[in-house]
Symmetry: C2
């Protein structure tokens, strides 16, 4: 496979002002096609640096991708550096110059002679249109190195990302006939640890050592992806069977499934989006009473555009007085059982259903820490209530981790529990 | 100044599985001493790669820093690569071997012969103790290149970060007599754009062209840092005067100031922490009524440990019914003026003060988008109410940006407004 060399050009990366995002973007999408970045070098935007660096990687069959240094200013030396390193001259492309002039006209800004450099493209080469900026991308094959391709992309992520995914990567796939990406299925789990998932999935995977399994662990959630090369016989069938059987093994814990081979799919959903769509589908509405999570669950639900159809709102009853006055938790309940107790979350869930008329109510009360724990009620203890008109169920948890982790685990677990009730 | 070459070793970076964090960590701290990373190369952990890469940068006065590849497994080839590239042999250091044996003993894990490689250090060199893992760091000066230093650090950030800041960087500062970091003052602004700040600060800075000003723009906030070399005559006095005068120019918009030269300071605070401490200092409590921000402001306030002392909670009145039932907003107000109106946020603020008995109440109602805008009430329109017993004031904003930006701007602006009222 062709070695791919990435050259990131920019003083801001080497001075620590910005963190690079491009290597991961490019490497991840290449990995899907079995291609890999052989090396990545980060250099200053300085005369001679680009040239020396590109020269080092020029070889038959090599792919060199640069990012940055395509702007209209004197600092932007990538075009020139590439030209010097490869011996390929630059020519002004009239179509590109026209395009640039129109673009500046539309923006109501005068075009300066320094912009002229942005209409320069390599001889024996072409360019990628930039939908989000003035610098076109460049692509050419220096004739002295057979099958070698040089690609120059603009630096800003909002310009580079679409150009890479929609133009440069497809160009390379076509040019080198790289294989299709593997087929894969993503399963998203909540309330289930990686080791339990692994233990139950291993026997299913045993007959197919070619299946690659990867896990991404997030707070209280695990994303598991299984994949097979697209060319593997019956790849889709095998992956589908394993995913189906996994869903049967974890009937309540897989909240999202995403098959790479299904056409026209939307991106994989987060737990709160799944909950939101389930509610919409059922024509039902949710309200929440949050104590230790302090509005976190509400803010997740309302991040989703259009959430007002399914989310009524809630009460952040951080103080006990709000639990009493807004949720109707009796003073005696708080006194006898405490704010973090089964009885209190039951009353909170009841109260939020009463106060809002919602179809579903969630209540959460816990000790997020770092202070406030006792031997009876340690930091991490969280009670969750899930209710609808027929009744309220309660669950007790002791979550590990710091304050943020406890809050996030509580919110994730509450949503996962609600999803189970709506199954 | 010595050119510093960074070599990051790890397949995971080049495959896109992990994003590099080290370049920024190292470059930022070097920048404080006027030192800069001349180049950064990311390579595979493969036989020959380290050696070839290090060889390229060996030169008199050069500083070469590698990260990764110091583990006990066969894949970990950094020690060997450095030794081959520089011609400096490795010797087993008995003290380090003892140290490793004790460490494994304490962990209750058997030490294997492959761990022996971790006790190897370069001849004419020394090592950095690793408080968070088994791989010591290495430092040596290859005799063939005068004044050249080679440093090898472990890859995991929790091992690298303390070793870099506490051992490697101080070693380099001392070895090359790098200057002290500059003196600086950080000013954090809310509700004020970069250009307005710049315009007013420029005249103050004009007499001192040596002052460096840098801005970090965040949603609805700007962090401005002014700095002078520590050796500059009267540096502290000059910076202090400019910061004082800036605070006078923006009496209500600077919510935090942090002087680098003051001893024993805590880290600079976020806006919600400043608000929280101001409330604590005054012995007062806050409650909030959120509509378009949907719990975001509450979740910020409750992220802070111990916030129950100053934050009572609130109502997320996403649905109009909750505005009526929990906050007492009259149905006629909602009908005549709409949910996003001065009258409604006034009633919401009044309602949350009444319902909770808080000293301060914040209310927010707006159109976060992307849907729901009209020509009268466009997406981005937000009304904010700030109230206490003496009265309620209201403010109208039209925020730019997408749904997330509008929500975040609204929450920041509300906190900044509250801080102004408590001034």
């Amino acid at each position: 496979m062709n070695p791919i060399h990435l050259i990131l050009i920019g003083d801001e990366l080497l001075s620590g002002k910005r963190r690079d995002l491009h290597l991961q973007t490019i490497a991840q999408s290449l990995a899907l096609h079995g291609a890999r970045v052989a090396s990545c070098e980060i250099i200053h935007d300085q005369a001679g640096e680009e040239e020396a660096c590109v020269r080092r990687y020029l070889a038959p069959g090599a792919v060199i991708v640069t990012t940055g240094g395509l702007g209209p200013t004197l600092d932007d030396l990538t075009r020139e550096g590439l030209s010097k390193a490869t011996g390929v001259g630059l020519r002004e492309e009239p179509e590109l110059w026209e395009d640039l002039r129109h673009r500046y006209e539309r923006m109501g800004r005068p075009i300066s002679s320094s912009n002229r450099s942005q209409a320069l493209v390599p001889e024996h080469g072409t360019w990628f249109h930039n939908d989000h900026g003035t610098a076109p991308g460049l692509v050419f094959e220096p004739p002295d190195w057979p099958d070698c391709t040089v690609i120059a992309l603009p630096g800003p992520p909002r310009e580079l990302n679409p150009m890479w995914h929609e133009q440069a990567l497809p160009y390379l796939i076509h040019r080198y006939q790289w294989p299709s990406p593997p087929h894969s299925i993503l399963l998203r789990f909540a309330q289930m640890g990686e080791s339990s998932i692994d233990e139950k999935m291993r026997p299913l995977l045993a007959p197919y050592p070619e299946i690659e399994l990867s896990s991404l662990i997030r707070v209280a959630r695990v994303d598991v992806t299984i994949s097979l090369p697209a060319e593997y016989p019956r790849a889709v069938e095998i992956l589908t069977e394993i995913a189906d059987r996994t869903e049967v093994l974890f009937p309540e814990y897989v909240y999202e499934r995403w098959d790479s081979f299904r056409e026209g799919q939307l991106p994989a959903r987060e737990l709160e989006e799944v909950v939101s769509q389930r509610l919409r589908h059922r024509g039902e509405k949710l309200a929440v009473a949050e104590s230790c999570t302090g509005g976190l669950l509400s803010s997740w639900m309302t991040e989703i555009a259009g959430s007002s159809d399914i989310f009524l709102g809630g009460v952040v009853s951080y103080d006990n007085r709000l639990k009493q006055d807004l949720l109707g938790v009796p003073a005696e309940t708080l006194e006898h059982h405490g704010a973090v107790s089964e009885e209190t979350v039951r009353c909170m869930a009841h109260g939020i259903l009463e106060a809002t008329g919602a179809d579903w109510g969630i209540s959460i009360s816990g000790i997020a820490g770092p202070g406030g724990g006792t031997s009876d009620k340690p930091v991490g203890l969280v009670w969750i209530g899930i209710g609808n008109k027929p009744g309220i169920e309660t669950h007790r948890y002791e979550f590990p981790g710091d304050r943020d982790a406890v809050r996030e685990r509580a919110a994730v677990t509450a949503l996962s529990r609600l999803l189970q009730k709506m199954a």
